[in-house]
Symmetry: C2
Subunit: 226 residues, 2 copies
DNA sequence: ACAAAAGTGTTTAGATTACACCCATGA
DNA sequence: TCATGGGTGTAATCTAAACACTTTTGT
């Protein structure tokens, strides 16, 4: 213990890049910071790591508090530890990113926190290094989408191939060939076509798919070259 | 400041997975821990993050102290924050991994720290979660090797195609086809063939190559499928 | 000349891309 | 029947993988 005591301790926080998909856009949950410094400026949802919890648990707690959701995809982005990143105090922050289904989240929670879903194409300035946290998280999401099907995290249980493609286009920020996308995804064998059709977009209607339930962690080589 | 004060502070440490390449093997720098708890058990090289430095700077400082090297490839792996990971105190650790040229490192430094280069195929038990840190770092190295040429970080300035392939085989832990590897690497256009040959391994001799100096961060799609 | 390592070429299989075309259906 | 998205097929191109073959050179 002697050896430890000569070293300083630091506040450790967790900041969550909470991403959802709505209206063919990826959106980020932000709120106007409620305390100084930079009170009122846009901020990621965050909080401090307490004594009794790991950072992963802290991130899950914050996600629960702000969206009402549990057991959500949540992964570390990286740490941010510039001694001057927060002018008020030395705070080392661990960035996380979460993928949530906006259709499932608790709007009440979000309203209480004064938070808003903001399309990532029109982000305002963020406090501290939160912009960089978002950018790094987006790259992680793009990589994840390239190697696994992010459909189930961001879309409802049932979705059409077109909806899935639009999601991928929003994530990768480029257009994908409809025919090739369909073939590639179906060749993975992880989707099950349902009998139902979505007739809201066309006369013919588009079949709904869902992720096969017996699929654990499938071993996908690469879905999309990016 | 009021808002901050109600939260706890924690020790924050940095643990470095320092990797090098020697005798056709990837080796990890380890030392027998010099203080309690677990004094004498094998540990990564680490230290505490001080008030005046970022975690990146702390990692670079530790790397300098233990290998004598500066301006080395050094990247975050992820954070480890289980409240009980260190039985002595609550310590949140940020794992880093570094790639160094064993031929350049300061053996004096290493000896002073009682550290040893240990082939990753024969690692002993490590303290705390250091085994997991190593495993995550190795995956990161494998990914990095798949998308960029790790030759210059781990090999001397000049190397033969065979040496580069052996390095990749050690990293990916599988054999690669000599002909295909050569063609793939050369097609990237980042290597320059020198006039010199390495004649120690054969009559014919193998040309030395070096990384072209005018190459910044080249945009490589994927070198090796893995 | 030949052994042994270095380096090149060839063939095949599979993936990616671009894009043309067919299908189903309600108005 | 026709306009409109939904869905399928195909040819051209590129890449990966396996492996046979040629080159070089000291002995």
């Amino acid at each position: 213990m002697e050896f430890y005591k000569i070293h300083p301790q630091h506040y450790v926080s967790v900041d969550c890049v909470i991403l959802g998909y709505q209206d063919e856009e990826i959106k980020l949950l932000l709120y106007p910071r409620s305390f100084e410094p930079y009170k009122g400026n846009w901020s990621l949802l965050g909080g401090f790591v307490e004594d009794y919890e790991s950072a992963d648990e802290a991130a899950a707690r914050i996600l629960k508090q702000t969206t009402g959701l549990e057991q959500i995809f949540l992964e570390q982005v990286c740490s941010f530890s510039d001694p001057n990143r927060d002018p008020e105090a030395r705070v080392i922050s661990l960035a996380y990113y979460a993928l949530i289904r906006i259709d499932l989240h608790d709007e009440e929670c979000v309203r209480e926190n004064g938070a808003y879903w903001i399309p990532i194409r029109k982000l305002p300035n963020l406090i501290f290094d939160h912009q960089e946290m978002f950018e790094k998280a987006l790259v992680k999401l793009q990589q994840k989408a390239g190697y696994s099907l992010v459909g189930s995290e961001l879309l409802p249980e049932m979705f059409t191939m077109i909806q899935l493609r639009k999601l991928y286009e929003a994530i990768l920020q480029r257009e994908l060939d409809p025919g090739n996308f369909r073939k590639k995804i179906l060749s993975l064998g992880v989707l099950e076509r349902l009998d139902k059709k979505d007739t809201s977009e066309s006369r013919k209607g588009a079949f709904y798919y869902k992720v096969k339930s017996n699929i654990g962690e499938i071993d996908i080589d690469r879905i999309i070259k990016f």
